[in-house]
Symmetry: C2
Subunit: 280 residues, 2 copies
């Protein structure tokens, strides 16, 4: 059983980012991270993104707003960041608190700066298989980790557990682009174990701690765990029971250290691409 | 074996359209059909749409342009239609000839008038399961025909053959919204027959005459044929071999008279909805 290490894939992405940075002739792209409130998940992702950008020689600025900011104020702040010539890309930490109209912000964000693919324009491009669009970083990280380990998706049965607009659905589109036969499962799926056992590539993106066990895994399958959960003992865990899955799969991503370790590298790559597009 | 007749579903939609029309208090919504060139498929669809609108008491105008119209001219013409206060909804017959930038028109079309869901805004809404968006009429017609015959999709295995941005992909999203477990197959799918036999609901949308036969069908499955092809004898046929499929399926849509007969009814319904949105 091979453990699919995010760090190794990230190292390859770093090399690519550095090459693309050179083409920018000394220009240092800047990421704006926009956060409302102080959710631990957001703070943790923000820290990871900031340190990744620093490591890759990229700029990053955090914009943090109080949990109770009004839509009027937030719209104005977001507009300023969106129009700021110094900002090459934006990462909006979601979900936003209920008083803020997330849909309006998604429609407002400049598609060229929309690194995590939340704008209609980028969603439509990913949907149509148009590579000029930005896909959500986590969904793209899954494809990158597979490619990084030489796992071809063409003609393979790929089963995704989870139908969220942030991971499951865009990943289905990315897998179709890679010519996989794609199945999307969710809470209403009957005989989930049986459906999952059809998978040559099984992806768990359900946000449900250790829900995927040995009975869900076909012998020799490649298992990718997108889940980041905290279990009853306060320990970080994925949507897969790693030990159980590792007993049957040929390759498994650990949590932490798997998909999560690639996501911010994809973000960095998107940032450099966004800067190149804006300066073209 | 039940033959799923589009006309019966269309009749139900007509009743609903007439009810919604009444709410508009005498206002007659107008559809603009935009066609470039004289492709037989386009002409045939246009005739069908015109007669459907007439039958439902709705207005319709055809705008036809020569095959060699320049992008500059077409952009100007399209802009005029798009901004015309008398036009409530637009149907653009695609694909456009190569000198025209289809993507630009898709981005230009007012999402509120975009009855066939080609704008990024509507694609993004369908992708996210947001019902305020317009889905492509053919994809929605599949769901309507199933609902019209009381076929629940919840928890069912739905297999779609074809991954086009016009039918396969949006239908996958609509099926997810109906809580089906969705699989999308295509030309690179291995063991297509076996995958198709997993389907409780099998949809063919590949544009390949009679490619789906008895070996693709699970006993008792519901089979929906989106294909409209002309065979070597000049006869209209679907992507399914009707006789072969009918021998195993519990329900099958005929071609013609199945999905195609519902598509323009869905278009009519979208038109009335568009008019209601614009006048709200």
């Amino acid at each position: 059983m091979v453990s699919l290490k995010g760090a190794e894939v990230s190292a390859k992405i770093q090399t690519e980012v550095e090459r693309q940075l050179e083409e920018l002739g000394g220009y240092v792209p800047t990421l704006a991270i926009v956060r409302v409130g102080e959710k631990p998940d957001d703070l943790s992702y923000e820290r990871g993104a900031l340190s990744r950008m620093k490591k890759y020689g990229l700029g990053a600025v955090s914009y943090a707003y109080p949990q109770d900011i009004s839509m009027e104020e937030f719209r104005e702040e977001f507009r300023r960041i969106n129009e700021d010539e110094e900002v090459d890309g934006i990462l909006l930490l979601k979900p936003l608190p209920p008083q803020l109209d997330e849909k309006e912000i998604e429609r407002m964000i400049d598609p060229v700066k929309d690194l995590d693919g939340i704008s209609p324009e980028n969603i439509a491009r990913v949907f149509s298989g148009d590579e000029t669009g930005f896909a959500p970083c986590t969904a793209e990280a899954v494809v990158r980790i597979l490619k990084g380990y030489g796992v071809s998706m063409e003609g393979k049965r790929a089963v995704i557990v989870g139908r969220s607009p942030v991971v499951g659905r865009p990943l289905a589109m990315l897998f179709l682009k890679e010519h996989a036969t794609v199945t999307v499962c969710h809470t209403r799926t009957r005989e989930l174990e049986r459906v999952c056992r059809e998978a040559e590539i099984l992806v768990a993106a359900a946000g449900n701690p250790r829900m995927i066990g040995a009975d869900h895994v076909r012998e020799g399958a490649v298992a990718v765990d997108v889940g980041i959960n905290v279990d009853e003992n306060g320990k970080l865990c994925g949507d897969m029971d790693f030990e159980a899955v590792a007993g049957k799969a040929s390759m498994v991503t650990p949590v932490p250290g798997g998909v999560g370790a690639v996501t911010t590298s994809v973000l960095a790559e998107h940032l450099v691409r966004a800067a190149a597009m804006r300066r073209a």
